[in-house]
């Protein structure tokens, strides 16, 4: 597989400033040494809890946030080293859909102009842009005559369709979708997920699909990266990740998600992780998950685990990964430790 997008050791640091002179007193590593590849027409899901760096990662890929170090390669072009002019042409190929369908559309522009704006910036003639807007609106399930209306006249789901139409305007190859359905009601969520599925095939798109909802990510992705405190904890094919998670964090995360099926829910043993996600400003030493990990040992405190392959592309950053067929509970039991189990 030749990768369409290749990310190597990407880091984004933010300064922590304090005092009258806003002196820098430290740094937060929001994204810490992240590497992955994205293939043609592939969807890579990125999941994690708030503060894990998934949004920062998505934005760094398009340099909407300037990464601190590392490289992002689009085909054979270095995105991270591109000049302003080169970046502009790169953005034709790389687009973004934002989470908040209310904040990401200019309230003063009719949606015709919102969808046409990328084309205007990239020098598509007015006539051609006008024609394409009608097609795009129709493609995302709206009507060309909706073009004269303003964002406030649309519901959340329709606005997200408008954002998708805008992202498609320049016929990109890669779209970064940052929580594209999390602001929507479930019945509308399914409409938008199906739409994304359709346009991916029709326009031969690759997606980076950022979300916190594990069920949505499983539905939408081919491969999935699980992030914790700025790092990739595990990266694997969808089914391998959900059925044979190797990282204790992935295990606990999957175990924490309630399933909308009472019988399965009653039969399950749900592991309750202790504590909160630590602050990224002061991340734990070694493996960042060790403060909450039921398997943590001395080595985890001292040494940061690298992301390594445990077979057929299944990558995990853990010193003591869980083997296929083994569960976190088995391992905890074998170590003579206990974890808290939810009471229902």
């Amino acid at each position: 597989m030749t990768a369409l997008l290749r990310v190597d050791n990407l880091v984004k640091e933010y300064p922590i400033r304090a005092g009258v002179f806003r002196r820098q007193i430290g740094t937060v590593q929001a994204v810490s040494d992240v590497s992955f590849e994205l293939g043609h027409q592939e969807t890579l899901g990125v999941v994690g809890e708030s503060g894990c760096g998934k949004t920062t990662l998505g934005r760094s890929l398009l340099r909407l946030i300037e990464p601190t170090s590392g490289t992002v390669m689009y085909e054979d072009q270095d995105v991270t080293a591109a000049s302003k002019k080169e970046m502009r042409s790169l953005r034709r190929n790389m687009q973004m859909v934002f989470q908040d369908p209310y904040a990401s559309l200019n309230p003063r522009l009719p949606i015709r102009d919102i969808v046409a704006e990328p084309m205007r910036i990239h020098g598509v003639s007015k006539k051609e842009a006008g024609e394409r807007v009608g097609d795009l609106l129709r493609r995302v399930g709206l009507l060309p005559e909706h073009g004269n209306r303003y964002p406030h006249e649309f519901s959340g789901g329709q606005r997200q369709r408008i954002g998708i139409a805008r992202s498609l305007a320049l016929r990109p190859k890669v779209i970064v979708l940052d929580e594209p359905v999390s602001a929507l009601d479930v019945s509308i969520q399914a409409q938008v997920l199906n739409l994304l599925d359709d346009i991916q095939h029709e326009f031969q798109l690759s997606f980076i699909f950022i979300a916190h909802d594990l069920a949505v990510v499983r539905h939408a992705s081919d491969r999935i990266a699980v992030m914790y405190l700025g790092r990739v904890a595990e990266l694997a094919d969808r089914d391998a990740l959900y059925e044979q998670p190797a990282h204790p964090y992935t295990h606990s995360l999957l175990s924490a998600v309630p399933i909308a099926d009472p019988r399965r829910e009653r039969a399950r043993k749900r592991i309750l992780l202790q504590g909160d996600v630590p602050s990224p400003a002061n991340p734990p030493s070694g493996c960042r998950f060790h403060t909450r990990c039921p398997l943590a040992q001395d080595r985890c405190v001292a040494e940061t685990p690298e992301l390594r392959d445990v077979g057929s592309g299944h990558q995990v950053a853990c010193h003591f990964p869980i083997a296929p067929g083994e569960t976190l509970l088995d391992r905890v039991g074998a170590m003579g430790r206990t974890v808290e189990i939810a009471s229902t």
């Binding site: 998600v257 399933i259 909160d276 229902t344």
Partner: protein, 329 residues
């Protein structure tokens, strides 16, 4: 069956606006029994939170409220403001979605719990403070003595929600209303907070109304479920009746539209269209324009909520055509 703790009868809640009255809750009747968890599910604008706020009498004076709410023999809508204040927070307590805006940023967490206790019980400060620390410990706040002296901004989201729960149970209410209690939290913390809520509810024996849009949360936490759509109750039943034997097209469509964590369903089945406006709603069943089973009569008359079996009821004129599918939901 035991005597219900709460009986809501033909509740209507309307908000006057320049364009007319927005009818957010229409003809809602239900009961909550002591010790049970009733989940109220629905999408945004379905009327689930507005119903809860009406029980707490937290609506503005201009709100048009009709029907009756009987709580443990008390006519809630007939109380004056002073009488209501003595019920609210003592017999009925509420947990809100966003703990940051529900807690007062300028008082310590301990002080706020003390305030909640002293609003209903004449106890000296030191006794109330001791009780506040005990409550924080009960909801799993580590180092409760030290944490009680901290301000809300020093608490993480999950800890704030625990503090809210501590405050809500401080007077051992008979009814807890939890309005999207874990929606603002991460999944691992959500699981912790739900566990605390269930433990507390079991220990104090209080009944709970759990308002949520998350069907997964419902599956693991509720005894009975009430599904709302466009201001009305669409279906009500035991958890298994709703998930496996639903007799309502909206409930079924809602369950079909969620992606499954366990297996992979390649294509989702979304509900077409959008919910109706509650200002001048169209006649007939609110779901008819989006319903795959709708017939012409659906857009003329609003169907009644009819009993299917004891405790299971559905609002659909084609309820008899919706035979239980059994097994898979």
């Amino acid at each position: 069956m035991t005597e219900p703790l709460l009986r809501v009868d033909s509740l209507g809640v309307g908000f006057p606006s320049k364009a007319g009255v927005v009818q957010a809750v229409t003809d809602v009747s239900f009961e909550v029994h002591p010790g049970e968890v009733l989940a109220v599910v629905g999408e945004s604008g379905s009327g689930k939170s507005v119903t809860a706020l009406a029980i707490m009498r937290l609506h503005a004076k201009s709100t048009i409220i009709t029907g009756s709410i009987d709580f443990d023999g008390i006519d809630i809508l007939g109380l004056d403001d002073d009488q209501m204040r003595s019920v609210r927070g003592r017999d009925i307590a509420m947990i809100f979605q966003d703990p940051m805006t529900a807690l007062n940023p300028v008082f310590t967490v301990g002080n706020q719990i003390v305030e909640a206790i002293q609003a209903h019980h004449k106890v000296p400060d030191d006794v109330a403070w001791k009780r506040a620390v005990e409550l924080l410990e009960m909801v799993g706040v580590p180092e409760p003595k030290r944490r009680a002296e901290q301000y809300p901004h020093e608490f993480s989201g999950g800890m704030r929600q625990r503090a809210m729960i501590a405050m809500a149970i401080s007077n051992e209410p008979k009814l807890l209303i939890a309005d999207e209690p874990t929606t603002a939290l991460d999944v691992t913390v959500q699981a912790q907070v739900m566990e605390v809520l269930r433990e507390v509810q079991r220990e104090t024996g209080s009944a709970m109304i759990l308002i949520t849009h998350d069907l997964g949360l419902v599956a693991g936490s509720a005894d009975r479920v009430q599904v709302m759509y466009a201001s009305r109750v669409m279906e009500r039943g035991s958890i298994d009746e709703i998930f496996y034997e639903s007799r309502n097209p909206y409930t079924r469509a809602l369950l079909d539209s969620i992606p499954d964590l366990g297996g992979v369903r390649e294509r989702l089945e979304p509900i077409p269209g959008n919910p109706p406006s509650l200002l001048n709603p169209p006649p007939g069943c609110g779901f008819a324009p989006r319903c795959s089973m709708a017939v012409s009569a659906c857009s003329t008359v609003v169907p009644e909520l009819v009993p299917v079996t004891d405790g299971h009821a559905s609002r659909c004129i084609r309820v008899d055509d919706l035979v239980p599918v059994g097994g898979a939901a």
